[in-house]
């Protein structure tokens, strides 16, 4: 708790500091490769025969996903706080890679916690992290996935709190993390808003993004929240189907609970034990969801839907073959929703989909399923 108070104070200070903002924006531009394009998916638009489809190309960021936006911001904060060591949890490995990357860039010792099951299915990212000089700690407890990695990272943090900065990768965990991660990720929506106005002269009708913990979705949605005509859809991982119980659709299938210091929707059993989740996308395999997303859902601002493993795979393939873009399995959930949504809309309507990451890391998993 004192660590959270220290972090909250430090973040409040940099949030008001124009020099910090400039530093952050410079690294995003010159190191992370921002702004990312807002790409008009012409062939996909034609094929779906409805709304005009734009893809926010976070897959083109350095390290291959939106995760770098947040790790650059927090690493700069960690450096200001004088921390000598950064730890992070990771599911798909994208956040782990993004953390290992900035730790290398700023010369800070780095240790990544990753569930044993995720280490198995994301071996490429494990190799990348090690190559970047990070130590990868394989977590064997509970379901051996993201939440267990987070438990272990929290344990490490409370033990080494004086020297260590815990770099959370999603809008999960205790305050101020959900707010801070949202702020760093909202560069996605800020750019997209500016870009769509430049391209179309108006705002989109829909913004669509996949939701695991929720960092890419809140990053896209947040700058559009006050544009009441812009509808928002969060797409959760339905795994084998929500009715089977083997899924990670927290908002649609969960109840209010408390995990990792935030009160939000939570996948839990009738005794309040956290349930094991399932998704083909390791980055969505988390039983919680950002508290702000839960709030916006209850307030009626964000609609939630879901895509199954199969639908995500089909969407991944469809996007690859129409646009020549291989999306991450996580982002493919948002594409799956697009495939259902766009044909129902008029040709003059606009949908922006957050293509949060690229699919290289998933090729083994995809191969297994396609066989």
């Amino acid at each position: 708790m004192p660590a959270l108070i220290e972090l909250e104070k430090a973040y409040a200070a940099v949030r008001r500091d124009p020099a910090f903002r400039r530093e952050f924006e410079t690294y995003l531009r010159e190191y992370a490769g921002r702004p990312t394009p807002l790409y008009f998916a012409e062939r996909l638009t034609e094929k779906l025969g409805g709304a005009r489809v734009y893809l926010k190309r976070e897959d083109l960021c350095h390290t291959g996903a939106h995760k770098i936006n947040n790790t650059v911001g927090q690493a700069l904060l960690a450096r200001r706080m004088g921390k000598q060591r950064i730890i992070a949890e990771t599911g798909a490995g994208q956040h782990g890679v993004a953390t290992a990357t900035v730790a290398a860039r700023f010369g800070i010792e780095c240790e990544i916690f990753m569930g044993k099951e995720d280490v198995r299915r994301q071996s490429l990212n494990v190799l990348r992290m090690r190559l970047l000089g990070a130590k990868v700690r394989v977590v064997e407890s509970g379901s051996n996935t993201l939440k267990d990695a987070m438990n272990e990272a929290l344990r490490d943090w409370v033990t080494n709190v004086r020297t260590t900065y815990y770099l959370i990768g999603s809008v999960a965990g205790p305050h101020p993390y959900p707010m801070m991660v949202r702020d760093f990720q909202s560069i996605i929506g800020k750019e997209a808003r500016r870009q769509i106005l430049a391209a179309e002269g108006r705002l989109p009708d829909y913004c669509v993004a996949c939701v695991g913990g929720g960092s890419n979705s809140i990053g896209l949605f947040y700058p559009f929240l006050r544009d009441s005509a812009v509808k928002m859809v969060g797409v959760e991982a339905a795994g084998a189907g929500i009715s089977t119980g083997r899924h990670a659709a927290t908002v649609l299938g969960g109840e209010i609970g408390v995990l990792h210091g935030s009160k939000s929707y939570l996948l839990q059993d009738k005794n309040g034990q956290v349930r094991e989740t399932h998704s083909i996308a390791a980055g969505l395999d988390y039983p919680g969801v950002g508290p702000e997303l839960s709030y916006l859902r209850d307030a009626g601002r964000i609609r939630f839907s879901s895509a199954t493993d199969r639908e995500a795979l089909a969407a991944l393939k469809a996007l690859a073959r129409t646009e020549g873009i291989i999306a991450a399995l996580e982002s493919a959930h948002a594409i799956a929703e697009l495939l259902k949504l766009a044909p129902q809309l008029k040709k003059n309507q606009i949908v922006i989909v957050n293509l949060s990451g690229r699919g290289d890391k998933d090729m083994e998993t995809v191969g297994e399923y396609l066989e």
Binding site: P2, R155, V158, V161, G257, V258, N271, G272, V274
Partner: protein, 273 residues
Amino acid sequence: MNRIDAKFSELKSRGEAALIPFVTAGDPEIGTTLKILRSLEAAGADMIELGVPFSDPMADGATIQRASERALAGGTMLPHVLALVRRFRRESELPIILFGYYNPILHYGLARFARDARAAGVDALLCVDLPPEESAELRRETEKRGLYTIFLLAPTSDDERIKLVARLARGFIYYVSVTGVTGARRALEGELQAQVARIRRYTRLPIGVGFGISTPMQAGRISAFADAAVVGSALIDVIERAGRDGRKASQAGAFLARLKRGMRGAKRPVSSF
């Protein structure tokens, strides 16, 4: 009067500190826990800290995580833990503190929990992932029922936080002797005594020390300046290693008796609280 207050004043009159063993309820099943509780009482336990199993015990080290997993595998949930306390209450007046995580309690219902826990004979609750700042909702219910809430302080706690905990805590204050998760450590931090003295400036409540106590000598040293020593992981280790049922209870008792002797042998100022 809450059993915890009664116990501390009884111990005070004898110039003793309390020995509080921690066991995870239902490790590996609830019948064994009942036998262990009896054995601990016979061996000189002054209060019991009873762990409520949780799927994500993020404040616990590997030993208690394993105990929690075994208990969950055996199907022990909060209602079973309350039933265990009710059963033990037929034969014992030892103060019982539930140690657990917030979500199972929230899910059970705060008002319902406070009512049922008190009716079962629970005296206090330590909700390890609920910081005092966020505890108002829970305390509204527990205070109505006379159920105490215990909060943790750590070496990193500053004076502001000590004041806050001193204001909200009931029964005693639990000082975590090391930064980190639960678990037996080789050595205790040297400044422990000074930290306990610092907390005393803000409270008249008894102060218990836990996390990392594993030997009679450590327990004895702590009882010289603190009012209670909590022993968790070291005891769980003994229970884990003891093999089958009956032996778990007897070895847990034997281990605790050694700690109690270590504490009784220690010199203790009579008026430490």
